[in-house]
C-alpha cells in the first residue's frame, strides 16, 4: 500500500514593530517580567484598543510578498475563549475578512523546477501572554509582556506532501519574511511558531481523511520530527484497521518524550463565538496604500540568487546556500565590496565560516569579524603574506576575538618568512640535523623532500614561504654540501 501524507501549516510570525498592536508598549524581547504592559494590554476595564498602523502595513507587505490579494475592506473580530494568558478573555483577530487572501509561495526543487504551495490567507491578530510552568511547583505564573504583540497568521492550503516539504515551506516563508523585514523570525524566542495539520490517505484517493493538529513546535528539527512521528502513528492505525482512533484533535508535540500527546478532541473543542470587534472601526485599504508598499518591497531570495549567479558567476548551489539567509548574503556582499574575490569569499563563507557559526551557535549578525577584515584576510592569503593554513588559524582567532588579521599576525608573529638569508639559515639547520632523510634523498628516495619541507615548516611554525623554501632546499642538496662523508666514523 502506498500512502500519501497531506499537510497544511499555520505560521504565526511576530511583526517587526516598535510598539504593540493596540497600545504604545514596547515589543522588545527579554524585558523584566510584566514590564512591557499597560492598562490596555492587560485588559483593564474601560480601556480601548488603538490599532497600530505599522501592523497593517507589514501585513499588506507580507501579502504582496506571498502573491496574495488584498481586501479593500478588512475588519477585526473577537475570538472568545477563557485562558489565563488572554487578558480580555478574547483575542482580537480576523475571522472572515482577513487583510490578505489567495496567495502562494514557490519552493525551489532544483533546476527550473518549483513546487507551488498555495496560501489561503494572512491575517493580523494579537499575541497572548506567556505562562511559565514550574516543575514541582503547585502553580503557574503569567507574564503579559508578550500580550498584544502583533502577529500575522499565514495559513497554507493542504498542499504539502511530506514532512520534508513542510519544513522547506516554513523555511521559504521565514526567509521571505526576513528578506522583507516583516518579522525577525526568531524561532528560539518564539517570534516564529508553527502549527501543522496532518492527515494521510491511500495514494490515488481524492477524499481527505480526518486531520490532526500539531501544536508547540519551535524549530525546523522538531517540525520534521513531530510530523514524521504523527505520520507514522496515523499510518499504523490505518494499517491495523483502527482508523476510528485517528480523531480530529489537537496534539501537543513533546520534544523531550519525542511524541505527540492529545490535548483536546474536536467535540470538546471551543465555540469561539467570533463577532466583529465593536471597538475598532473597519480597516479600509486603498490602491495607493498598496502601491506605496509595493514600491517598498526589497529584493527577494530568488532575485538575489539569480543576481549572484550572473554577477559573481557563482555556482547555483552556492548561490542558493548564500541566499537562504538574508544576513549571510548581506555579509557576503559587503566582503566582496571590500575588495575580496567573490568565489574565494564564497568558499570561505560556506566552509570555515558556517562551520564556526554552527559550532558556536550564533547567527550572522552576532559575528565579530568585520566585513573589511574578512576581505583583508582573503587578500593577505592571495598575496601570500600568509599561507592558506596560517590563514585558517588567523580566521579562527578573528572569529573569536574580532581582531583585525594584521594585528593577529603581528601579535602571534605569523607573517611568512620570505627573507632568503633567514630561510637559508633554517634550511641549513634542517639539513644538518636530519642526516638520515638526507641520505635517503641521495639514495634516490625523492619523497624525503616532503619530510624535510615538513621539518622546515615545523621549525618556522608554518611561516616559511613554501616555494622559496623548496627552491633553497633543492639548491642546497644539489651542491652535495651535505653528502654524508662522516659515515665512516660510525663504521
Amino acid at each position: 500500500m502506498v500512502w500519501e501524507t497531506i499537510i497544511g501549516i499555520e505560521i504565526h510570525a511576530e511583526l517587526k514593530t516598535n510598539s504593540k498592536i493596540f497600545c504604545n508598549c514596547p515589543t522588545k524581547f527579554g524585558a523584566e517580567k510584566n514590564k512591557n504592559t499597560c492598562p490596555v494590554c492587560i485588559g483593564l476595564p474601560g480601556t480601548l484598543p488603538r490599532l497600530n498602523k505599522e501592523t497593517i502595513h507589514l501585513a499588506i507587505k507580507a501579502g504582496l510578498s506571498f502573491n496574495c490579494k488584498i481586501n479593500n475592506f478588512s475588519k477585526m473580530d473577537r475570538k472568545n475563549y477563557f485562558y489565563p494568558d488572554t487578558p480580555k478573555a478574547y483575542q482580537v483577530s480576523q475571522n472572515d475578512k482577513p487583510i490578505c487572501f489567495d496567495g502562494f509561495v514557490d519552493i525551489n526543487k532544483g533546476a527550473d523546477c518549483v513546487n507551488r504551495i498555495r496560501i489561503n490567507r494572512i491575517h493580523i491578530e494579537e499575541d497572548a501572554g506567556k505562562l511559565v510552568h514550574l516543575e514541582r511547583e503547585p502553580h503557574t505564573l503569567i507574564d503579559y509582556n508578550r500580550a498584544g504583540i502583533p502577529l500575522i497568521e499565514i495559513v497554507s492550503e493542504p498542499d504539502l506532501r511530506s514532512p520534508t516539504e513542510a519544513v522547506e515551506y516554513v523555511k521559504a516563508i521565514k526567509n521571505i519574511l526576513m528578506y522583507q523585514e516583516i518579522s525577525d523570525c526568531r524561532m528560539e524566542e518564539g517570534s516564529l511558531r508553527c502549527d501543522a495539520n496532518i492527515s494521510i490517505r491511500k495514494k490515488g484517493e481524492y477524499k481527505l481523511n480526518t486531520k490532526v493538529e500539531l501544536k508547540n513546535i519551535n524549530s525546523f528539527k522538531e517540525l520534521q520530527k513531530a510530523l514524521e512521528n504523527e505520520e507514522q502513528r496515523q499510518k499504523e492505525l490505518y494499517i491495523n484497521n483502527q482508523m476510528d482512533k485517528v480523531m480530529q484533535e489537537t496534539r501537543r508535540w513533546d520534544s523531550v518524550k519525542g511524541k505527540t500527546i492529545s490535548m483536546r478532541k474536536k467535540e470538546e473543542s471551543q465555540d469561539y463565538r467570533y463577532f466583529p470587534e465593536p471597538d475598532i472601526p473597519i480597516i479600509t485599504i486603498d490602491k495607493s496604500w498598496i502601491n506605496c508598499i509595493k514600491k517598498q518591497l526589497s529584493e527577494f531570495p530568488n532575485e538575489r540568487k539569480i543576481r549572484y549567479i550572473n554577477n559573481y558567476r557563482l555556482k547555483e548551489k552556492d548561490a542558493e546556500l548564500l541566499t537562504s539567509d538574508k544576513a549571510l548574503g548581506n555579509y557576503f556582499e559587503k566582503i566582496v565590496a571590500s575588495g575580496a574575490d567573490p568565489k574565494t569569499t564564497v568558499n570561505w563563507i560556506l566552509g570555515d565560516f558556517l562551520k564556526l557559526l554552527k559550532a558556536n551557535e550564533i547567527s550572522v549578525d552576532q559575528v565579530l569579524i568585520k566585513e573589511s577584515d574578512f576581505a583583508e584576510l582573503i587578500n593577505l592569503i592571495k598575496r601570500e603574506d600568509i599561507s592558506q593554513k596560517i590563514g585558517k588559524v588567523v580566521f579562527k582567532i578573528m572569529f573569536l576575538t574580532g581582531k583585525r588579521p594584521k594585528v593577529i599576525i603581528e601579535e602571534k608573529g605569523l607573517k611568512q618568512i620570505k627573507n632568503k638569508d633567514a630561510l637559508e639559515k633554517i634550511v641549513n639547520e634542517v639539513l644538518t640535523s636530519n642526516t638520515n632523510p638526507v641520505n635517503d634523498y641521495y639514495e634516490g628516495k625523492t619523497q624525503a623532500i616532503g619530510y624535510l619541507m615538513g621539518q622546515i615548516m615545523k621549525e618556522t611554525n608554518g611561516q616559511a614561504n613554501p616555494q622559496l623554501s623548496k627552491e633553497l632546499l633543492l639548491l642546497k642538496l644539489s651542491c652535495k654540501e651535505y653528502l654524508p662523508i662522516h659515515n665512516n666514523d660510525e663504521q
Binding site: 514593530t17 516598535n18 510598539s19 493596540f22 504604545n24 508598549c25 514596547p26 523584566e32 517580567k33 510584566n34 514590564k35 512591557n36 504592559t37 499597560c38 492598562p39 492587560i42 483593564l44 488603538r50 490599532l51 497600530n52 498602523k53 505599522e54 501592523t55 497593517i56 475592506f73 475588519k75 477563557f82 489565563p84 505562562l131 511559565v132 510552568h133 511547583e137 503547585p138 502553580h139 503557574t140 505564573l141 503569567i142 507574564d143 503579559y144 501537543r252 500527546i261 492529545s262 490535548m263 483536546r264 471551543q270 465555540d271 463565538r273 475598532i280 472601526p281 473597519i282 480597516i283 479600509t284
Partner: protein, 97 residues
C-alpha cells in the same frame, strides 16, 4: 423555540458560569421565555448589507508605531491579588489532560 436544560448547561460552560441542578430548572424556564421573546425570527425578513454603512464611512485613524512606556507597574498591578516577583500566580495549568 424551546431551550433544553442541556443547552443551558452548555451555554453556561462556554460563559464560565455554573448553576446548581435546581437553578438550572428555574433558569431554563425563565431563559426560555426571554429567548422566545427576543427571537429575531419573529421579526420580518429584511435585506441587509454585510458591513455597517456607518462604520465604512468613518475613517479609521490608526496609531503611529511609537513606544511610550512610562507605566508605574506597581500601580498598574495594584488590583492583582496574587503577584509574586512581578509575575501573576495562578493554580497550576496542566496542558494535557
Amino acid at each position: 423555540m424551546k431551550i433544553s436544560e442541556e443547552e443551558v448547561k452548555h451555554i453556561a460552560q462556554l460563559a464560565k458560569l455554573s448553576f446548581t441542578e435546581k437553578e438550572i430548572i428555574e433558569f431554563t424556564k425563565k431563559f426560555g421565555h426571554i429567548v422566545q421573546f427576543f427571537n429575531p425570527a419573529n421579526e420580518s425578513e429584511t435585506e441587509y448589507e454585510l458591513m455597517d454603512i456607518e462604520m465604512v464611512k468613518e475613517k479609521n485613524e490608526y496609531r503611529k508605531d511609537i513606544v511610550l512606556s512610562e507605566n508605574n507597574q506597581e500601580k498598574l498591578f495594584r488590583n492583582t491579588k496574587n503577584m509574586e516577583n512581578g509575575l501573576i500566580k495562578i493554580p497550576k495549568i496542566i496542558e494535557d489532560e
